[in-house]
Point group: C2
């Protein structure tokens, strides 16, 4: 047990994760199987994700809209792969307003179908293209095994849906949104994700191509953290999404969809957390600084609080999110509590600091003595801003170093199995078949996470089939 | 028909409303009975409502959280009035993951029950109070008759849920949130709502007291636009929400809930719209200004666009939301289109304006020649800002004058019936019973909208029962 009474990561990562989710007050169990209550501290992280992504979506020309929660069962069946992929997980409304429904309504697991139907009505000519829509919504997938944030029966997400005149434009959109996700993950969530293409087996039900960003969690497992799909003309044909081109000819559109969900909260927990609790990147942290007054005697309270609140006011004026913990609890209790909740920087002010014009800053990302520094109150806003930038950068650097130390190049299946058994990710030339991929999963538990967009170039020999391979692939055990 | 081809309000207000919703591109019909697709232009109004309210909720100490979409059927039954009120409208999931569920899951019509259960676990002692939570969510009420935005099977809303130590604190919270709603409605949506208390018959299922804000639509019907409920200890007792007080005694909490929904979009349409289309208050308008270049010859395009974009840049830098309509359509087509969509101010720049340093501004709230003014490009940002302020104020003034002209004091039931038959709201001293209220509804179609918080003082004689009355009540036909 750590000093927080949490199972250490090294002992049982899964227990550590479950404990942290509830101990850091991110979520609570709900009475509905597999559904989570997202508590304010968790929801504020989601709001940060929401706001960061929404800004990027709007900057790239997308508009938000809202489509019905319910989808007629018959819609889902129009795209064959799609219904096959989602059927086992559907929640179905059969009774409404006291009556049995003639056609059952599926609670949306994703909205390609209902949005496809709408697009077919909205799009008439090439002038209506591209149509760039995003939806913030809840979706339901009735999973057998659920885990907080990572896999819940209901979750929150955004789903982008776009229609284009050509395959090239749809592909460009798909890749643009993958870049948006990667930019968010790397530069806000400090998760050094790897961009790549999914294999046939792993792609979205109904897509032509699925791109993914894959993050490495601190137990070295992979977490798919966002996906962007080029749907080709599959949904356009299933839902009759057509446009009149400049030559007055009817053409099918090319569509895309892309999504990121509350699963990202799980990614942040598992990329940065340690045995003392969460470590939140400043850019997504609900509180970037927690300010704690330190005093023993009653007469010390007023001057300490006055100085503290002056500094807090200045920090807030500079746009820094500060929480003042003035609870009637010991400083030690508060330190542990905010360490657990992963607040990037702790600010302490005591009577001596008031006297000397100093303050204590403690960064959460570093352990032990190195975390603490005594600073002057002069210019403290700049000091704190710089420190927050440094914490943000150092979390990303740590995660990148960890990732790179755990990815290993392999050139034979023996090497591959050694790497996977050792908990690493295996990267190797790949020309295997779908069946080869299934066999590898059965043998080792590892799945093809992606064909990274960044490739060494040239060709090589497939580590599994020995055939000539055009690209390297990344395999790992995954969530 | 108006020049827009829309049914005039005077002819058939209901047809006018339905046509405007779709013609102004706020929404689209969906394949699911009673559900609406909110299109980007409508959703942006919802985003403005969301952002304005969310800011106010946070300023008053509330935090957002998220609770499950599904509620076990048994939960709903724990509060007797509550289940009676909502049972006829429930949508029920009976099958999930391919299996019949042991206990059906209700799609939330509102979340008092599931949040009540959570509160009972989260609250231990007086230190945990007040607990101030808000949720942004979709809810489902399977209504027999639906109308876009006003009454849809699924709608978007926020629902606040709070717990307090005393009745007084709960009542203060209930009234505070009513004030928040009224402040938003009046100062952002330019709807001069009347705050008041609902009668026993009209109050929320399970509440002690329901407060409402009532708006008068342009057909003089009332629209309940937001409600705030003091739930007393009803839900606390049903869900065992208790706290240990300072004397170490177990006490039941006092809870509140309050909500505003996408219905507010309907309120904005019906308070301000005219036969030419929407008239949007600048504070909630997706675009506050639409900028339209005017030119006949090709060589005029470049200088006109250059000047236009320079002005647009300055306006945007000042935080004004500007849309540039550079579609390949005639100016007349564009004027009509943006008139329909209710953009508060139109900015036109033509070759002569470029020459003379002028611009044309046309305000949407005023008809005919008075709408148009020729202004200098110098200081145009300030000119536009002032004009937007003026449009905002004048829409509120118009709606207030209309409201006041249509509320009539009555002192007998004969007078009452005349007022109601004439399409007015009737205000009179009221000491009637629940049965009296039902009889009035049966006789006239009017319902008791509220006992206004603003009262004349003293006592009077009830217009219906002739008994001594402590307060006046407001009756009207309502949506």
């Amino acid at each position: 047990m750590s000093k927080q009474g949490v199972t250490p990561q090294s002992e049982n990562f899964s227990d550590w994760y479950n404990e942290i989710v509830y101990r850091a007050d991110l979520a609570a169990r709900s009475p509905v199987r597999g559904c989570l209550i997202i508590k304010p501290y968790g929801y504020e992280i989601w709001e940060a994700i929401h706001n960061s992504l929404d800004r990027r979506f709007k900057e790239t020309g997308h508009q938000n809209a809202y489509f019905p929660l319910f989808i007629p069962e018959s819609y889902l069946k129009r795209e064959a792969e799609h219904v096959e992929g989602f059927s086992p997980e559907l929640a179905v409304v059969t009774v409404a307003g006291g009556k049995e429904l003639e056609e059952p309504l599926v609670v949306r697991p994703t909205s390609e179908t209902v949005i496809g139907e709408a697009f077919s009505e909205w799009i008439q000519s090439y002038r209506d293209l591209p149509l760039l829509i995003n939806q913030w919504a809840n979706v339901v997938r009735w999973e057998l095994r659920t885990r907080p944030f990572l896999r819940t029966s209901e979750f929150l997400w955004q789903e982008g849906h776009t229609a284009h005149a050509t395959h090239e434009e749809a592909e460009a959109e798909t890749l643009q949104m993958l870049d948006v996700y990667a930019d968010f993950a790397i530069n806000e969530a400090a998760i050094p994700v790897i961009k790549g293409l999914k294999s046939n087996i792993e792609r979205f039900a109904g897509a032509l191509r699925t791109y993914t960003i894959e993050g490495m969690m601190r137990d070295t497992r992979a977490l798919q953290s966002g996906t962007s799909h080029n749907l080709g003309q599959n949904f356009a044909k299933a839902f009759d999404i057509k446009y009149l081109d400049e030559q007055n000819e009817q053409q099918y559109c090319w569509t895309t969809s892309w999504g990121m969900s509350t699963r990202m909260i799980g990614a942040i927990i598992m990329t940065h957390g340690d045995d003392q609790g969460l470590r939140l990147p400043p850019k997504v942290a609900p509180y970037q600084v927690v300010a704690i007054p330190i005093f023993r005697k009653e007469e010390e309270e007023a001057p300490v609080m006055e100085k503290l609140m002056n500094i807090v006011k200045d920090l807030r004026a500079a746009g820094i999110r500060v929480h003042v913990d003035d609870r009637n609890q010991s400083p030690g209790f508060k330190f542990n509590d905010w360490e657990m909740r992963g607040v990037p920087v702790r600010l302490e002010i005591g009577p001596k600091d008031v006297e000397k014009g100093n303050a204590v800053l403690v960064r959460r990302d570093v352990a032990g003595r190195d975390a603490k520094q005594f600073v002057s109150q002069d210019g403290i806003v700049k000091t704190v801003q710089d420190l927050l930038d440094d914490v943000q950068a150092s979390l990303l650097a740590d995660a990148t170093a960890f990732r790179d130390a755990n990815i290993h190049d392999v050139s034979s299946y023996d090497e591959f199995r050694q790497v996977i058994d050792g908990g690493g990710w295996a990267r190797g030339w790949w020309a295997g078949s779908d069946d080869n991929e299934r066999q590898i999963k059965e043998d080792t538990g590892a799945t093809l996470r992606c064909i990274p967009l960044e490739q060494p170039g040239g060709t090589g020999t497939c580590f599994y089939s020995d055939e000539v391979a055009q690209s390297v692939a990344l395999f790992a055990k995954a969530y």
